[in-house]
C-alpha cells in the first residue's frame, strides 16, 4: 500500500500514523503470547523479568520449571535417572497423566465429531436437503451457546444417566462442541464442488462407495482434516465441561492449568503454556498448508 504521489502532507502523516497504529495493534495481539516463552525459563519463582534475565546472565535462566512439569506428582522425583525413574514419570507425574487424558479424550472426540460431521456436511451441501437452514442452525449452535450453559445442562443430564465422572461423558460432550467446526470447514470446501465430477464417475460405472473414496474424499480431505484439527483443539482447550462433569482424578491439561492458576501458581504454568504455544504454532502451520492445498485442488488462484 504505497502512498500515492498526489498525497498531501497531512495524508502522508496520517498514513504513517496508521502504519504505526497497526504495528501497535499487532504487538498487542502477539506480545502476550510470546512474552511467556522467555519468562518460562526464569530461574526465580517470579512472573516478571529479573535483573539477571535482563542482563542476559545465564544464571538468570534455567530449565527448572520444565523439570517441575515432569516431576510434579511423582513418587520419588529425586531417585537416580534410568528406566525406573521414567516409569515413575509415565505412571505418576501429574502433568503427564493430564496430557495422556487430554490426548485420549481429544482423539476420541475428534474421531467421533469428524465422522458424524463430515457425513452430515455431505448431506447439508446437497441442494435438495430439506429444512437446510434450520438444521444447519441447530448443528452450529453448540459453538454459539455459552459453554457454561452446555456444561450446566450436561451436569444434570449426566448425573441422571450415569455418564458423570466417565470418559464417555467427556468425549461425547467434547465431540458435540467440536462438530460445528467440522460442519463449517467441510461445507466450506464443498461450496462450489463440481457435482458433474461425481456424475461422470457414476456414468463411467463407479459404485457409490468408489465415487466417495476416489472422487469426493480426495477433494474434501483438506477441509475434513482442518475441521478435525479444530475439533481437536476445541477438546484440548476445553475446561468448563471437564470441571462440571469429570471426576476429581480425571485431570486434563487445561484443567491442570486452571487449578495451577487458581491455587499453587508457579512459573511451571508458563512452561506448560510455552509448550502449548509451540503446539499451536504447529497446528496453525498445518491448517494453513492444508488451506492452500485445498485452494490449489479447487483451482482457486492466489491473487
Amino acid at each position: 500500500m504505497a502512498i500515492p504521489v498526489y498525497a498531501t502532507p497531512l495524508e502522508r502523516a496520517w498514513t504513517w500514523a496508521y502504519r504505526i497504529g497497526c504495528g501497535l495493534i499487532f504487538l498487542f495481539l502477539i506480545a502476550p503470547i510470546l512474552i511467556i516463552i522467555p519468562l518460562s525459563f526464569n530461574a526465580e519463582p517470579y512472573f516478571t523479568f529479573t535483573d539477571a534475565m535482563l542482563s542476559f546472565d545465564p544464571a538468570g535462566y534455567s530449565m527448572r520449571w520444565y523439570e517441575t512439569l515432569l516431576t510434579f506428582g511423582m513418587n520419588r522425583p529425586d531417585a537416580p535417572g534410568g528406566a525406573a525413574w521414567w516409569a515413575d514419570v509415565w505412571h505418576n507425574a501429574a502433568w503427564v497423566q493430564a496430557a495422556k487424558n487430554s490426548i485420549i479424550i481429544g482423539v476420541s472426540a475428534t474421531l467421533l465429531a469428524t465422522l458424524l460431521g463430515t457425513i452430515a456436511a455431505l448431506g447439508l451441501s446437497r441442494p435438495e436437503m430439506p429444512f437446510r437452514r434450520t438444521i444447519m442452525a441447530v448443528l452450529i449452535s453448540p459453538m454459539i451457546v455459552p459453554v457454561i450453559i452446555t456444561a450446566t445442562g450436561l451436569y444434570f443430564f449426566y448425573s441422571a444417566t450415569g455418564l458423570a465422572n466417565s470418559y464417555a461423558g467427556i468425549i461425547l460432550a467434547h465431540a458435540t462442541l467440536g462438530i460445528p467446526f467440522v460442519i463449517i470447514t467441510v461445507t466450506a470446501t464443498l461450496v462450489g464442488f463440481d457435482h458433474s465430477l461425481t456424475r461422470a464417475a457414476m456414468n463411467l460405472g463407479a459404485s457409490p462407495p468408489r465415487v466417495f473414496f476416489r472422487i469426493i474424499m480426495p477433494l474434501i480431505l483438506p477441509g475434513v482434516v482442518s475441521g478435525a484439527l479444530f475439533a481437536f483443539v476445541t477438546s484440548f482447550d476445553e475446561v468448563v465441561v471437564v470441571l462440571f462433569v469429570a471426576a476429581h482424578d480425571q485431570q486434563t491439561i487445561p484443567r491442570q492449568m486452571w487449578n495451577g492458576i487458581r491455587e499453587q501458581i508457579s512459573p511451571a504454568i508458563l512452561a506448560a503454556a510455552t509448550l502449548l504455544v509451540i503446539f499451536s504454532i504447529i497446528l496453525l502451520t498445518t491448517v494453513e498448508l492444508l488451506r492452500r492445498r485445498s485452494e490449489r485442488l479447487r483451482g482457486i488462484k492466489q491473487s
Binding site: P130, V145, V287
Partner: protein, 417 residues
C-alpha cells in the same frame, strides 16, 4: 402427427410418465440427503438439545416440596388461599414426620429456604419434634417454634406446593413474591442479579466496540496489502486464535499483575512511581483487556473477508472526482464494510456475554460476568434451579442474537481462519 405427440405425456424408457419419475428421483435425493444428516442431528439432540431442555425444565420445576409433602399439597389444593385450619396443621405434622423418616426434610427445608431464608433449620428442628406431637397440632407446632404462625411462611409453602414455579426466574431478576403473591423487588442489599446482567451487557458492548476499533485498521491493512505480505501478517492474527484460551489468559495475568511486566515497564519508563503501580487485574479493566485480546480475531476475520471483496477502484474513482481521502473513506469505503462490521460485532458480542474462564481468572469480584454467577450457584451454593434459571435467561439472549446473526449474516458465511 404433431398433435398426438403433444397429447401423450413424455415417458421414460420403462413407461413411467416423466413427471412422476422426476418427482420420484427428487424425493429419493431428498431422503438421501436427509439420511446423511440424520445421525448427527440425533446425536446433537441427545447430547446437546435434550440436556439443555432438561435444564430449562429444572428452572421451572418445583417438586422438592410438592412431591414430599403430599398432605400439605392436598390441603392447599382444596383450600387455596384460606387461613390454615386444624386439618392444615395436622397435614403439616404428618408430612414432617414422614419427611424425617424418608430423610427428605433437608430437601424440603432447602426449597423453602430459597424464598424465605432461615427456614431450613425451622423445618429440620421441628421435624425432629414432630414424632411426639399430640393434637391440637397448632399449639404443638407453635410450641416448637413461633415462626410457624408466620403468614409469609404459609404463602411460600402454598407456592411451593405447585409442581411448577416462576420463583427462580423471579429470583434471577431480583424479584420475589410477597405474602399475597404479587411480584416485588427484593431488599436493596440483596439485589445482585440485575446488576450483573447489566454489567455483562455493558462490558460485552465495550469489548465489542474495542475489538471493532482495533480490528478495523488491521483488517483494512490485511485486505489492501499484496497477498504475500498479508499472508505473513495474517499469521499474527491467527496464532492467538489457535492458542489455548488458558494460555492467553495466563499471559495476561503475567502482564497485568501489579508486579507484572506492564507495570515494570511503566515504572522503568518513569510514567508511574514504584508506589503508583496500577491495579489492572482482578477488576473490570482486567476482564476487558484480556477479553478484547482473546476475541479480536473474531472481529478481524469477518471484517477482512468483507474488505477483500471491495474493489479498490471505487475509492480511486471517488478521489479522481475530487473527494478528499476522509470523504472517500466516509462515503465510499465505510458503507461497504458495514456487513463485516455487523458480523464482527455480533459475533464478538455473542461470545462475550457467555464468557466464563477469563473473567473467572482475571475479573476478581468486580469484573465477573453472569456465567461466573451460574458457575457459583452450580458449584458452591448448590442452588441448581436458580443456576438453571440464570442460564435460561442467558440462553434466551444468546439465541436471540444468534437468530439475528443468521438473518443478517447467515451462518453459512461463518468462516474459520
Amino acid at each position: 402427427m404433431p398433435e398426438a405427440r403433444t397429447a401423450a405425456p413424455l415417458r421414460t424408457a420403462d413407461g413411467v410418465p416423466l413427471k412422476t419419475a422426476l418427482a420420484r428421483a427428487q424425493r429419493r435425493a431428498k431422503w438421501r440427503a436427509a439420511g446423511l444428516v440424520l445421525p448427527l442431528l440425533l446425536f446433537i439432540l441427545a447430547s446437546f438439545v435434550i440436556p439443555i431442555g432438561q435444564m430449562l425444565f429444572r428452572s421451572v420445576s418445583n417438586d422438592e416440596f410438592s412431591s414430599h409433602m403430599p398432605h400439605m399439597v392436598a390441603w392447599f389444593a382444596e383450600n387455596g388461599d384460606a387461613e390454615p385450619d386444624d386439618a392444615a396443621w395436622e397435614a403439616l405434622v404428618l408430612d414432617l414426620r414422614q419427611a424425617r423418616e424418608d430423610r427428605t426434610i433437608g430437601l424440603i427445608g432447602t426449597r423453602v429456604n430459597y424464598e424465605l431464608s432461615g427456614t431450613r433449620s425451622l423445618f429440620t428442628s421441628t421435624a425432629r419434634k414432630a414424632e411426639d406431637m399430640e393434637p391440637p397440632y397448632r399449639e404443638a407446632l407453635l410450641d416448637a417454634d413461633e415462626d410457624w404462625a408466620d403468614p409469609e411462611l404459609w404463602g411460600v409453602m402454598r407456592r411451593a406446593s405447585s409442581p411448577y414455579t416462576d420463583a427462580f426466574y423471579l429470583a434471577a431478576v431480583d424479584r420475589t413474591r410477597d405474602a399475597t403473591g404479587s411480584v416485588e423487588m427484593v431488599d436493596e442489599n440483596r439485589q445482585v442479579y440485575v446488576a450483573i446482567f447489566w454489567r455483562t451487557l455493558v462490558l460485552s458492548v465495550t469489548i465489542a466496540l474495542l475489538c471493532l476499533l482495533l480490528g478495523y485498521p488491521i483488517a483494512h491493512l490485511l485486505a489492501t496489502l499484496p497477498m504475500r505480505y498479508s499472508n505473513l501478517l495474517m499469521i499474527l492474527v491467527l496464532l492467538p486464535f489457535w492458542t489455548s484460551l488458558l494460555v492467553r489468559t495466563t499471559s495476561w495475568m503475567v502482564l497485568l499483575q501489579s508486579q507484572g511486566v506492564v507495570n515494570d515497564v511503566l515504572v522503568w519508563i518513569g510514567i508511574i512511581g514504584e508506589d503508583g503501580r496500577i491495579q489492572m487485574m482482578y477488576n473490570q479493566a482486567g476482564t476487558v483487556i484480556a477479553m478484547t485480546h482473546i476475541l479480536l480475531p473474531f472481529m478481524i476475520l469477518p471484517l477482512y473477508s468483507v474488505m477483500r471483496t471491495i474493489p479498490p477502484s471505487y475509492a480511486r474513482a471517488a478521489r479522481s472526482l475530487g473527494a478528499t481521502s476522509w470523504t472517500t473513506f466516509r462515503r465510499i469505503y465505510l458503507p461497504q464494510t458495514v456487513p463485516g462490521m455487523g458480523a464482527g460485532i455480533l459475533l464478538v458480542f455473542i461470545l462475550a456475554v457467555g464468557y466464563y474462564i477469563t473473567p473467572a481468572l482475571v475479573g476478581g469480584t468486580t469484573g465477573t460476568l453472569i456465567s461466573n454467577l451460574i458457575a457459583f450457584h452450580m458449584q458452591e451454593s448448590h442452588n441448581w434451579s436458580l443456576a438453571a434459571a440464570l442460564a435460561g435467561i442467558l440462553l434466551a439472549a444468546v439465541l436471540l442474537l444468534y437468530w439475528l446473526y443468521d438473518r443478517l449474516v447467515g451462518i453459512d458465511n461463518m468462516k474459520l481462519g
